[in-house]
């Protein structure tokens, strides 16, 4: 199995090094619940993510392997972190369905689509 599978709220994602990939997902709001060299299990409300170790990743077809929804502040933080290394990096964009979208790669090179819902501003 080399692509992410969704099973209800469970996502299995192949990575080259689960322990190296885990911190990336932690900044997206996941919490590590178990870890060993072969597999790290993470959780966030409504979703369980299992990072499975593989020797070779499947060929990159340009599509994201996993989509994770965060709130806008987290998205902003991640983008700002990335743009520190690459100042011309485009910021999150507004997807037609009305969410902010930002495409990142995890330490194994998996494409990750990070989305944030539009905020509901405080209208006086």
């Amino acid at each position: 199995m080399s692509i992410a599978r969704r099973s209800g709220e469970l996502v299995l994602l192949p990575v080259l090094d689960p322990n190296r990939a885990a911190p990336f997902y932690e900044q997206l709001g996941f919490r590590v619940t178990s870890e060993d060299p072969e597999e790290v299990v993470l959780e966030k409300p409504g979703m369980q993510l299992v990072l499975e170790r593989v020797d070779v990743l499947e060929r990159d077809d340009g599509r994201p392997r996993i989509e994770i929804m965060v709130d806008i502040d987290v998205l902003d933080r991640i983008w700002r972190g990335d743009s520190r290394d690459e100042p011309t990096l485009p910021g999150p964009t507004l997807a037609p369905e009305g969410v902010f979208e930002y495409r990142a790669r995890d330490p194994s090179g998996n494409r990750v689509r990070i989305t944030a819902p539009l905020p509901e501003p405080d209208v006086p």
Binding site: P92, T93, L94, G98, F100, L118, P119, P121, V123, P124
Partner: protein, 893 residues
């Protein structure tokens, strides 16, 4: 200001920071700015009012322009910008106001010369070309990558330009908006976000083609709550237009939601107006309470009008189904125009009948039955047959539709104050029963509110008539101005003092009346008892701002002074002209005093006895804006310790044995807005120092035995011959009080330090004597003058004045010159100057034992940070003894 427009920091955070700043005009302006951008318009307006005093007029005007603009009132913005015609921010914002008013040429003209230096000006100019020359807009905004509201707006304008482009480029427009929305979402600017969503709906509609699809509708649904609550009327017109094109299906649901708020608002404000008008009627014996309630009632009426406008806007927003709701708008407008209860009674059936139906009857509950007030239509319904249904409708306040299809009645309860009315319509319900109930509910709410409006307006009309009579009865001159500074009322005393006929003044800006521009400017600054020089008279003016304008109370300065002195029985006679001397140290002190006279800060004057400390204090008072108010002096050293507190702060009757019936105002109260001189402050008992400090910090006093807090507005000038810094070191004077009193420190030199002034002072006092005695001025022989200059003058100028008076009195009336050194002076001059710090102290320097003990106790307590046990040990006395001594000397703090 542009910094705030360009900042990416969330507005809510910025607002919090500004609110937490210590109050100042600048902080208030920052609050106004951030609140306006966050669409907290009321907070913005209130902060702007708070900043009116003390802020730079130009900056205030620029922020006022932004606040008006962001409140959707470009005309008010233009008026505000007029106050700072050269301020770049105000110019750029005024240009935006002109653009919104459709005057694109005027907008471009207003920002001429600013385009390269002011990003907002560039933005406005680019915006004016967006429909006709989108390429030009894009060129002007190319490379403008700025943050905050300004950056987001630049993106939106570019997006519009891409849509207006030939051919349209919706994908590029979407990219621009996408970046703009991201920025706005973080900022929390709901109006700007609403506009971006609305434009996004247009973009998606164009991409989806035809009447748009679900994406366009979903963007409209996002824009709708933001723009209906924070958008301008222009935004809302665009929203309606977009709904007609892309979101027909979504609209009904949204419209229903829109109506809920104003209807609920009506209920709330109507109920409040009822309560207030009832309370105002009941409060006739308490004038202050009644006035407060009437002001609240005015506010409630203004709220009611706002709610009416919201409802009309909401109904107009629902004009997609014009047949269903269109006439309702006319009915609502009609109801609000009928300002009298009698007219409403007469017109309501006819007006409401325009919504449909055959006939209508308006009834009024009386006793257990109904009386018909008015009817319209061919066969008006009879109320008796529907009795129970009418009572139920009134009980729960809900409109209802009764009966079957061929005989349908609409029942509209109308409750205002204590009056219960009900409107019954025959033949309604053709458009569907639920929709009909909804419409009738709108009528019920609006009619109740209209009755309440009529009742409240009548009450206020009566109050206004009474106020006009009251105004005439007031002896002071009173002028009321509206928000634009136009004279709304002026009483007889006002017309006489300002030399302007009331008929000429009313309706005209005060500043345009001959010679009254300084008064208009004072009103704008909300002065508080300030002396204003008019062409023909000096006046004392006080301006109080209120929601609708300003009330100016004006007194002729001379009369105000007389009155103040009569009331207090204390006055300041001396001015700076009475201070005689040319010694540089003395002149420096006087120059400093002149400078600080106008600044409202506490002053400490030190100098040996007789150097003229009180005279200087009086001169400062007379040169200050408080000159028309009392000058009250208290010699702290001369008042027994037990009486000092009641003397300074006053007492209520029965506060202590011997207290005067009816109580007694303290010196702080008597000083009012004038000056209080605390003479010999260095001799104030330690316990009183703490009380004085509290009064100065809290700016209020409470009389002994009293419960009412009296505000302290007087300026404090303190004097002492003591070295207060030394007293602080000794522990006999509080450091915190010292710093509070010594904001400005003026030191008057001793006479021996300014010997060159002796001749001048002698001459001055001889001239005064001659004038009083009615004789020719005397001259002083050179030998005598030399003697005087040799003398050390321990009693300083006071001693010299007394001596000169004495010599002059003893000189024969026909003499022209004093040539003999009088005996008394010879005695004094021959006495050697007392050595300083050597030998036994002079009799006056010997301190009573009590004082020595008190200082020892105070020092010990200060040395051990108030630890009584340690202080007692150090003093070699028992702790109990120390407590008793602390009690005795008032050191139990």
């Amino acid at each position: 200001m542009i910094d705030e427009l360009e900042s990416d920091r969330p507005l809510a955070e910025r607002l919090e920071v500004a609110r937490a700043e210590p109050p100042s005009p600048e902080a208030a302006l920052r609050i106004a700015l951030c609140a306006a951008l966050a669409m907290r318009t009321q907070e913005a307006a209130s902060a702007l009012r708070a900043a009116a005093d003390g802020a730079s007029p130009e900056r205030h005007a620029a922020v006022a322009t932004l606040v008006a603009l962001w409140s959707g009132d470009p005309r008010r913005a233009l008026v505000a910008a007029e106050r700072a015609p050269d301020h770049p921010d105000a110019r750029a914002l005024a240009a935006e106001a002109l653009r919104l008013e459709g005057d694109h040429g005027g907008a471009r003209e207003r920002v001429e010369g600013l385009l390269e230096v002011h990003p907002f000006a560039r933005l406005v100019a680019a915006h004016t070309h967006v429909d006709d020359e989108p390429a030009r807009t894009l060129a002007m905004l190319a490379g403008v990558e700025r943050g905050g509201v300004l950056g987001a707006r630049a993106r939106r304008i570019r997006a519009r330009a891409w849509l207006a482009h030939d051919p349209p480029e919706p994908l590029r427009a979407r990219d621009e908006l996408s970046a703009g929305v991201w920025r706005l979402a973080r900022l929390g600017a709901p109006d700007e976000l609403g506009r971006a969503y609305l434009l996004m709906a247009e973009v998606e509609g164009l991409i989806e083609g035809g009447a748009g699809g679900s994406r366009a509708a979903s963007w409209l649904a996002r824009a709708h709550p933001l723009l209906t609550r924070t958008g301008t009327s222009f935004d809302q017109a665009l929203l309606r237009s977009a709904f007609r094109r892309f979101g027909r299906r979504a609209i009904d649901r949204l419209v229903d939601r829109d109506l809920e708020r104003p209807i609920e608002g009506f209920r709330r404000v109507g109920a409040r107006a009822t309560d207030l008008s009832r309370a105002a009627e009941e409060a006739h014996s308490d004038e202050a309470a009644r006035r407060r309630l009437e002001q609240d009632l005015r506010d409630a009426l203004a709220d009611l009008t706002d709610q009416g406008e919201s409802l009309i806007a909401a109904l107009e927003g629902a004009l997609v189904d014009k047949e269903r709701t269109g006439r309702l708008v006319d009915v609502v407008r009609g109801l609000f125009l009928l300002a009298h209860e009698g007219t409403l009674d007469h017109e309501i059936p006819r007006l409401v009948l325009s919504l449909g139906g055959e006939s209508a009857t308006l009834g009024l509950a009386s006793g257990s039955g109904w009386s018909v007030v008015s009817e319209a239509g061919s066969r008006p319904p009879e109320l008796g047959a529907l009795g129970t249904a009418l009572t139920s409708a009134l009980a729960d306040g809900s409109a209802r539709v009764l009966g079957t299809d061929d005989r349908v009645f609409g029942v509209v309860p109308i409750r205002a104050g204590d009056a219960e009315r009900v409107l019954v319509l025959r033949g309604v319900g053709r458009g569907g029963r639920a929709a009909e109930v909804e419409r009738l509910q709108v009528v019920a709410s609006v009619a109740s509110a209209a009755y309440e409006q009529a009742r409240s307006a009548e009450q206020l009309r009566l109050a206004a008539a009474r106020d006009a009579a009251t105004l005439e009865a007031i002896r002071d001159a009173i002028v009321t101005l509206d928000r634009r500074g136009r004279v709304r009322a002026i009483n007889g005393a006002g017309a006489a003092l300002l030399a302007v006929p009331a008929a000429d003044a009313i309706g005209r800006p005060l500043g345009e009346l001959p010679g009254l521009a300084p008064l208009a400017e004072a009103a704008e600054r909300a002065v508080d008892d300030e002396t204003i020089s008019l062409r023909h008279v000096d006046v004392l003016a006080r301006a109080r701002k209120f929601e609708d304008g300003v009330v100016l109370t004006i007194q002729e300065l001379g009369r105000a002074r007389q009155l103040a002195h009569k009331l207090v029985g204390s006055s300041a006679r001396f001015t700076f002209e009475d201070l005689v001397g040319k010694d540089s140290m003395f002149l420096d002190a006087v120059a400093d005093a002149r400078r600080v006279a106008v600044a409202d800060v506490p002053i400490l004057i030190t100098g040996e006895s007789g150097t003229g400390k009180e005279l200087l204090a009086q001169a400062i008072h007379n040169a200050s804006p408080r000159a028309a108010h009392p000058f009250v002096g208290v010699n702290v050293a001369a008042i027994p310790r037990e009486l000092l507190e009641s003397e300074l702060f006053g007492y209520e009757s029965g506060a202590f044995t011997g207290a005067r019936a009816g109580g007694h105002a303290g010196r702080f109260e008597l000083a009012g807005r004038g000056t209080i001189l605390l003479d010999e402050i260095g001799d104030m008992p330690f316990d009183m120092q703490a009380k004085l400090l509290r009064v100065l910090q809290e700016r209020s006093v409470m009389r002994l035995g009293g419960t009412r807090v009296v505000p302290v507005n007087a300026r404090v000038i303190a004097t002492t011959h003591r070295d207060l810094e030394r007293s602080v070191e000794d522990g006999t004077f509080r450091l915190d009080l010292f710093y509070r009193l010594r904001v400005v420190h003026l030191r008057l030199p001793a006479l021996r330090e300014r010997p060159s002034d002796i001749a001048l002072l002698v001459e001055h006092h001889l001239a005064r004597h001659a004038e009083r005695a009615g004789r020719a001025p005397l001259r002083l022989g050179s030998r005598v003058l030399a003697e005087l200059e040799r003398y050390r003058w321990p009693g300083n100028v006071r001693e010299l004045a007394n001596l000169v008076e004495g010599i002059a009195s003893l000189t024969p009336i026909d003499a022209e010159e004093i040539t003999e050194v009088p005996q008394v002076l010879r005695r004094m001059s021959s006495r050697p100057a007392p050595p300083r710090s050597v030998g036994p102290p002079a009799p006056s320097a010997v301190e009573p034992l009590d004082e020595v003990e008190r200082r020892a106790v105070a020092q010990a307590l200060a040395a051990f940070d108030g630890n009584v046990l340690q202080a007692a040990k150090a003093l070699g006395i028992a702790r109990g003894t120390l407590y008793r001594k602390m009690e005795r000397y008032g050191l139990k703090e």
